[in-house]
Symmetry: C2
Subunit: 114 residues, 2 copies
DNA sequence: TTGACACATTCCGATATAGGAATATATTAT
DNA sequence: ATAATATATTCCTATATCGGAATGTGTCAA
């Protein structure tokens, strides 16, 4: 079995650095494909292909404007990633609290029998 | 050029659902490979291979305990993902604020010439 | 209608999978 | 030393990729 398709979900789509760049760029303002090409210095077909992947997983939305295609990031689609990473937040957000807890005898290491 | 290696960074490593499951499972308590195998119902070689990927990008830490290998999630390595997704947080966290801002004339749509 | 422009898609090739099966390595028990 | 246990690695195969080049599609202008 090969690796899951990049279009299978946001996690896979976002694994590619250029796609993250695109999402960053499109977060503040909607932009045409040409804008993205000149801003990120990528080949036009490359950008179109990345946008296609992002589109398939709902990470960007498009609208036609004359012969321009105007893309914008759909932040809602990033939310699941945020939620997932957030489940680990407690481990770095409250370092002092955790150290304190351990000192108090909670959060002890489990033991492993031979 | 093929897709970037799963070991190239946390984003790629985490694209695989089973690897996320493993990270979830190892977040609260450190566990042996066998524990992971029986808990997640995966083949042992599969688990070892996923752990290898996670290890290569620093998402898990290991220590030997007899003939058991005890793995635990390293939350710090997830932090970059969290930070990245966080840059989009404002778009869903303060919906009302943003609607208000737009109503006040800020955040206007850019115009596109033909 | 023809041409220019903006973008999308297709075809190609090299490569990195992920699972399954088999095998190798390391540690403990007898 | 030998067997048993726990884990890791290797080999195999089918497939999805990403970039580059070429080509296709759609819209606007003259």
């Amino acid at each position: 079995m090969p690796r899951a398709a990049t279009t299978s979900d946001a996690f896979n789509a976002v694994a590619e650095p250029r796609r993250r760049q695109i999402l960053n760029y499109l977060a503040d303002t909607e932009r045409s494909v040409g804008d993205i090409v000149s801003r990120l210095g990528l080949e036009q077909p490359s950008v179109s292909k990345h946008l296609r992947v992002l589109r398939d997983v709902g990470l960007v939305k498009v609208k036609r404007h004359g012969r321009h295609m105007i893309y914008r990031t759909n932040p809602e689609a990033i939310r699941p990633l945020h939620e997932w990473t957030k489940t680990f937040e407690r481990f770095w957000a409250h370092q002092l609290t955790r150290i304190k807890e351990r000192a108090e005898g909670r959060g002890r290491e489990p033991s492993y029998d031979r």
